[in-house]
């Protein structure tokens, strides 16, 4: 019985594929630290090392991709990001990320916006988007 439960647990929580951070391929960055990724998606770090503005794309708070991205990549919870964005937006000290409604839209937006960053659960082969790891 315990074995069945354990097996079920492992099977259920193992994601089919890890979430990857994607960036527009014009950005000359090869990896990010977790702290930097948190600062970018927390809307506190606003420009790339070359000075160009960072444009952050996210999916809806309740989407599986967003939840997995927060937990697996940033190691935080979606409500924490939402609270950080709200503090910036309603005190005037920052802006919110741009929301997309599907992974297809995410791919399209990151591909067409220089300076764009987002995330994806599926593999992508596209010469206008690159996947970058955390270091």
């Amino acid at each position: 019985m315990i074995f069945i439960l354990l097996f079920g647990y492992v099977f259920l929580v193992s994601p089919a594929k890890a979430v990857d951070i994607i960036i527009n391929s014009s950005i000359q960055v090869n990896s990010l630290s977790r702290g930097t990724a948190r600062a970018i998606f927390g809307m506190r770090l606003l420009k790339w090392p070359d000075g160009r503005p960072i444009k952050v794309f996210v999916m809806e708070d309740a989407s599986l991709s967003h939840i997995a991205f927060c937990k697996e990549v940033l190691d935080i919870y979606p409500y924490q990001l939402r609270q950080s964005w709200d503090r910036l937006v309603y005190s005037g000290t920052g802006q919110a990320p741009i929301s997309v409604s599907s992974e297809d839209e995410m791919i399209a937006m990151v591909a067409s916006n220089p300076g764009a960053i987002g995330y994806l659960r599926r593999s992508i082969v596209n010469d206008r988007i690159r996947t970058i790891p955390l270091h």
Binding site: A39, K47, P53, A62, L74, I76, D86, G92
Partner: protein, 412 residues
């Protein structure tokens, strides 16, 4: 008969209130919806956001935000719209217009909540420093900067011991300059903010707070200071903050005024703690509040009072888009007289005017990401933060009272 009924209807406060609500919302929202249908990013680097909330309040005996005592008050409405424009990553312009109705303490007039220009003098991957110039919300504790936006609050009304609504203007915002510096690394974020500016006072509630009533003269803000140091560890898992401020004001007497031109200053020290897990958020804040009165003449002798406030709060996210709240909140007007007895003897008012102990439970449901419903129940011993202006009738406020609130809130 018809004429009489019509007259009664038009004369009814609710009708005028609805008309006001409609008009205000139209003015605030009109401009926005003509520019966009969905809110948020309007064009490159320009964002528009807004919020609206309406409360229903009922209480036993004492009034809180309108005639809620043994009745239902609808006089708790918050409406606002803001824009932010970032032409360059280091430059941002922001402004928010809002209207707030809160019983007799706030009349719903449209005002500039904040409006400033911000510029980063230094911005690298790990360090940012710069300034804001204009009308800026004060970073007091965790909630003050966004205190009027229902979605950012853990409850319908913030813990009143620290975020008291009856004299909110002393701590709300200031027109001046704020300097900020923050440093990020893999373990966390350290930030410091310091501001110099003038608070906007000059309303009735400030006079009630300082001089115990609506007086012939006016209170105006003088140069004031605020510092806020915060450490956020491991992506907000642990958040710690220290805030210290000194808010200065001056009373300019009116004709045949019993009070001379005195000064009042309010200097809070505040410690803030929050620990976040997937299901729970534990928050606690403590404030030591020093008030100084000087030069008001024989009617109000020079004095210093140290007030003390604290709350402990747990928020439990028990299902997706549902959360529960439990909080204990306590306020002492004079920390050297927690029972209020000494102040009661001096002022000939009841001792329970000088403290308030509030147990709160609440429930919140985010129906959609932009629409939320919440309800909460308070059981309170003492009237230490009860709004003065809502309770001016001949019946004195009672010591033990309950407060029920229900709220619908929208944002974009």
């Amino acid at each position: 008969m018809i004429a009489f009924a019509q007259y009664r209807f038009i004369d009814n406060g609710h009708f005028r209130y609805l008309l006001w609500l409609f008009k205000t919302f139209l003015i605030l929202a009109g401009g926005v919806f003509s520019m966009c249908a969905s809110g948020a990013e309007i064009s490159e680097n320009l964002q528009i956001h807004g919020f609206a909330s309406q409360g229903l309040i009922s209480s036993t005996h004492n009034n809180f935000f309108g005639p809620s005592g043994n009745s239902v008050s609808t006089e708790y409405t918050e409406l606002g719209v803001n824009f932010s424009y970032r032409p360059h990553p280091d430059l941002q312009l922001s402004a928010q217009a809002m209207s707030r109705r809160a019983g007799e303490t706030d009349n719903g007039s449209i005002r500039l909540d904040y409006g400033f220009i911000g510029y980063n003098l230094i911005s690298t991957e790990s360090t940012k420093a710069g300034f804001l110039l204009g009308k800026i919300k004060n970073p007091l504790g965790f909630y003050n900067e966004t205190r009027d936006i229902a979605f950012t609050r853990p409850s319908i009304v913030l813990p009143q011991s620290i975020y008291f609504d009856r004299t909110r203007n002393f701590a709300l915002s200031a027109t001046g300059v704020q300097f900020y510096a923050e440093h990020t690394n893999d373990s966390g974020l350290l930030s410091f903010r310091a501001s110099v500016g003038n608070p906007k006072l000059g309303d009735k509630s400030s006079e009630y707070a300082v001089l115990g009533g609506d007086r012939p003269g006016d209170i105006s803000g003088k140069t004031s200071y605020l510092g806020h140091l915060m450490y956020e560890w491991d992506g907000d898992r642990l958040r710690l903050a220290v805030t210290h401020g000194k808010v200065n004001s001056q009373y300019n007497p009116g004709a045949s005024d019993p009070f001379a031109s005195g000064t009042f200053s309010f200097s809070p020290w505040m410690l803030s703690f929050q620990y976040n897990t997937e299901k729970w958020s534990f928050t606690s804040e403590y404030a030591l509040r020093e008030s100084q009165f000087s030069g008001f003449g024989p009617v109000l002798a020079d004095r210093e009072v140290q007030g003390e406030s604290a709350y402990v709060q747990g928020v439990y996210r028990f299902a997706p888009s549902w959360e529960g709240l439990i909080r204990y909140d306590v306020l002492y007007q004079d920390r050297h007289d927690r029972s209020g007895e000494r102040n009661a003897t001096l002022s000939k008012r009841p001792a329970y005017f000088y403290y308030a102990k509030d147990w709160t439970i609440g429930l919140r449901h985010d129906v959609t990401p932009s629409f939320m419903l919440s309800g909460e129940f308070h059981t309170i011993d003492g009237t230490g933060w009860l709004p003065f202006e809502d309770n001016l009738g001949s019946v004195s406020p009672v010591r033990r009272w309950n407060l029920f609130l229900f709220q619908g809130a929208y944002r974009f």
